[in-house]
């Protein structure tokens, strides 16, 4: 045992030693002699209030980065920098700029570093950032409930109808659920990639989406199938609710963040759009419950699991948005959705095998197509 342990030590020691020699002697420095350091700066969050503009910035540079001056709309402007010191790799700082911004109009903030390199950030539509008052928390809780819980619970009202459909009818609904989930999977990954593009390159955020998705998928598959079980009925409904809940967490983040940066000019329309879009999720969660006799507390619980994360997401998006947290949320959400796609698919397969059908049926294909079509159609509203 001890011997095996020391065998792992040797290669580690060798690589550490080589790295140490390289870092201390810096044999390749002549390649970059006289060349200014490559600088990278990302604006993670911008808020606007009566005091002006407030930016949270993160350096992606290897060498310390010094913020020298700030321009707003092509004019140098006074500002305070906290902490007032060069930024190390991946370190953040806050810029407070007492600029008299104009509501409803765009503003461009340009950060000039000591080397004269410039980094631009556009505030698309200037609007006061929501404050952290109880009233604003309540408003955004309403937003989250409207986007998450309300449509899911409404979709569950289709349950009595689902119980009356034929076996093929239920095949259709289950396949529709897969269509819906496939749409959400693609949507979640795309959102994750978009968020990754806004995160500092040094964080490898794009990679993090895939890693979080893969890790979550494997973990949930393992949990769901422990002891040789195959999730069906209530368990399957729970996993679908969980996957959708994680997706709605990310959706809430995006909606909240767009409120925070004033991009949500037509907020009310957007929320109605998301509401219609998410009704199908309630149908999907109820479908595996058709063979059971669920009570309303179960439905309430599932609606909470699937819908409440949207409230948390909206709050986080409005009050503390940072792109790399959104990246993680979307990655985890994508993994959870993939797990339920696999499990619902397996469930459909078992039903088909029991009925002597092939794995693909006409009603199944129609349901899958209908799921995608409904999601795409309602996505046009948002």
């Amino acid at each position: 045992m001890t011997a095996a342990w020391t065998r792992a030590l040797l290669p580690l020691a060798v690589i550490v030693a080589i790295a140490a020699i390289f870092v201390t002697t810096r044999p390749l420095d002549f390649l970059s002699a006289g060349v200014p350091p490559a600088e990278e700066l990302t604006v993670e969050r911008a808020t606007l209030d009566g005091e002006g503009l407030h930016l949270t910035v993160r350096s992606g540079a290897w060498e310390p980065l010094s913020i020298a001056q700030v321009q707003v709309d092509g004019a140098y402007w006074e500002f305070t920098l906290t902490p007032d010191a060069p930024l190390g790799r991946l370190a953040t700082a806050r810029l407070d700029i007492p600029y008299p911004w104009t509501a409803g109009e765009p503003h461009v903030v340009t950060v000039v570093t000591s080397t004269g390199t410039t980094f631009e950030h556009t505030i698309a539509v200037a609007a006061a950032t929501p404050s952290r008052s109880p009233a604003d928390f309540a408003v955004f809780a309403v937003v989250g409930l409207m986007v998450g819980v309300v449509p899911v619970a409404t979709g569950m009202l289709f349950f009595p109808l689902l119980r009356q459909v034929s076996r093929r009818g239920l095949d259709f609904v289950l396949a529709l659920t897969i269509g819906l989930l496939a749409f959400l999977l693609i949507d979640t990954l795309e959102e994750g990639m978009e968020a990754a593009a806004r995160a500092p390159a040094g964080l490898q955020a794009g990679l993090a989406v895939w890693l979080a998705a893969g890790g979550t998928f494997l973990a949930l598959m393992w949990i769901g199938r422990r002891g040789g079980r195959r999730p069906e009925g209530r368990a399957l409904a729970f996993y679908i609710a969980l996957g959708i809940g994680l997706h709605n967490l990310g959706e809430g983040l995006v909606i909240g963040a767009s409120f925070a940066i004033g991009e949500t000019a037509l907020a009310s329309f957007l929320i109605v759009g998301f509401m219609l879009h998410n009704v199908t999720e309630g149908v999907g969660i109820s479908a595996p419950l058709v063979g059971e006799r669920p009570g309303w507390p179960l439905f309430a619980g599932l609606a909470a699991v699937a819908g409440l994360p949207a409230v948390a997401g909206t709050w986080a998006g409005v009050f503390a948005f940072a792109p790399h947290w959104a990246v993680l949320c979307f990655g985890i959400g994508a993994g959870a959705i993939l797990q339920v796609i696999v499990e619902v698919g397996a469930f459909i397969g078992r039903r088909a095998a029991a009925a002597g059908d092939g794995w693909i049926t006409g009603s199944g294909l129609a349901g899958f197509g209908a799921g995608l079509a409904v999601m795409y159609g309602t996505a046009l509203l948002i």
Binding site: P36, L48, D49, G50, E51, G52, S66, A68, Q69, V70, Q71, G74, A75, Y76, W77, E78, F79, P98, Y99, P100, W101, T102, A103, G104, V112, T113, S114, T115, G116, T117, T118, A126, A127, A128, P130, D136, A138, V139, V142, V143, G262, T264, A267, S268, I271
Partner: protein, 365 residues
């Protein structure tokens, strides 16, 4: 009710109308309306806490270290380089100058460093001053990493033009330029090696003033004497040399910093002191790259302008704004004699340039 009151009350009425709504959905609506109204609502950013006086917030933070730069924009206004003066066997006056091209980093706005190419370690280079008819001899040594020249705007022979093939000094080499100072006026010199734009915007330029010889201009003897450095008439004037320039710090062919004599907001943060009773003469040279024109606007006053400085009567009388294309220059004359003491702005009237650093003040006392 006056016009202002009526307009104000109308706006209040509209604001009240927006708030009239009810029910749960109105909560959201009210929130977004509040955001839309933020420009004149309680969140209005109209008056952020006490901006710096005179700047309204438009300024750079901190101060440029003049000692580290090795040049101070305030002393640059008046530190003429008149050369080493001697008499030639034929009786003519000889002025000898020494200029060295040096690559060095300069601080052009607080905390912003620019990898400049300089004459004598400063941007703009030394303000050379001679008198009409002097023999000017400049020993130019190239201590930089690229070929450079001194190309004077003046009258001289092809051999002394300071272009590739005629007076270009390679790194470590020197060249001696010699010509007669003419015509009198407000001129400039710059490097004419190629690529031209790079050699200019990196900082290789300076002012070159030739004073008129009063003996040659009997019809305007008084005006000529007031221009001639060293005369009592000239000493009555407050003379300032200002080179309008800019710096493209991220090399995207647009300037991030504009200034007079290189340092953004230098004469705004610390105004130029002017004695009210003495007239002011400015030798203004435009060496801004990338932008075709620059301008000079004086607040609360008007000036006479002598384009290129090659005349002793104004080419523009009683103006408060003048524009110059690249390499254009001229002389401004004005007085604050009848003004009350105070702070008088002058700046480019391209507001873009002004807000990026070409903003200045005279403190008149």
């Amino acid at each position: 009710m006056g016009l202002i009151e009526r307009l104000l009350s109308r706006r209040r009425f509209l604001g009240a109308g927006l708030a009239v709504s009810g029910g749960a959905g109105a909560l959201l609506l009210a929130r977004s309306e509040a955001a839309a109204q933020a420009g004149h609502g309680h969140d209005a950013p109209a008056a952020p806490a006490a901006p710096h006086p005179h700047s309204g917030g438009n300024r750079t933070k901190g101060a440029v270290d003049a000692a580290r730069n090795g040049f101070d924009p305030h002393s640059m206004l008046t530190d003429w380089d008149t050369g080493k003066v001697s008499e030639l066997p034929d009786g003519r006056r000889l002025r000898e100058f020494e200029i060295v091209a040096i690559d060095r980093e300069i601080e052009i706005a607080p905390g912003i460093f620019f990898p400049a190419w300089t004459y004598n370690g400063r941007v703009p280079g030394p303000a050379l001053r001679a008198t009409e008819g002097d023999v000017v001899r400049i020993r130019f040594f190239n201590g930089g990493a690229h070929p450079h020249t001194l190309h004077f705007h003046g009258i001289h022979s092809a051999r002394m033009d300071g272009i590739p093939g005629a007076g270009e000094a390679f790194p470590g080499e020197e060249f001696i330029y010699e010509f007669t100072a003419q015509p009198f006026g407000c001129h400039l010199y710059h490097c004419h090696s190629f690529p031209l734009r790079r050699h200019l915007h990196k900082g290789l330029y300076g002012a070159f003033v030739i004073d008129p010889d009063p003996e040659r201009h009997p019809e305007h003897r008084e005006a000529a004497r007031s221009r001639l450095l060293g005369t009592p008439e000239n000493a009555a004037w407050q003379e300032l040399v200002m080179v309008m320039n800019g710096f493209d710090t991220n090399f995207d062919e647009e300037n991030e910093v504009y200034a007079v004599n290189s340092i953004a907001f230098a004469y705004h943060d610390k105004p130029i002191h002017i004695a009210r009773e003495r007239p002011v003469r400015i030798y203004l040279v435009n060496l801004t790259e990338f932008d075709p024109i620059n301008s000079f606007h004086l607040h609360a006053n008007f000036f006479d302008y002598f384009d290129h400085g090659t005349t002793l009567t104004p080419t523009l009388k009683t103006v408060d704004t003048v524009m110059q294309c690249q390499a254009q220059r001229g002389i401004l004359e004005f007085t604050f004699k009848d003004h009350e003491p105070g702070s008088y702005m002058f700046h480019a009237h391209q507001t873009e340039f002004a807000e990026l650093g070409w903003m200045s003040r005279f403190e008149v006392a």
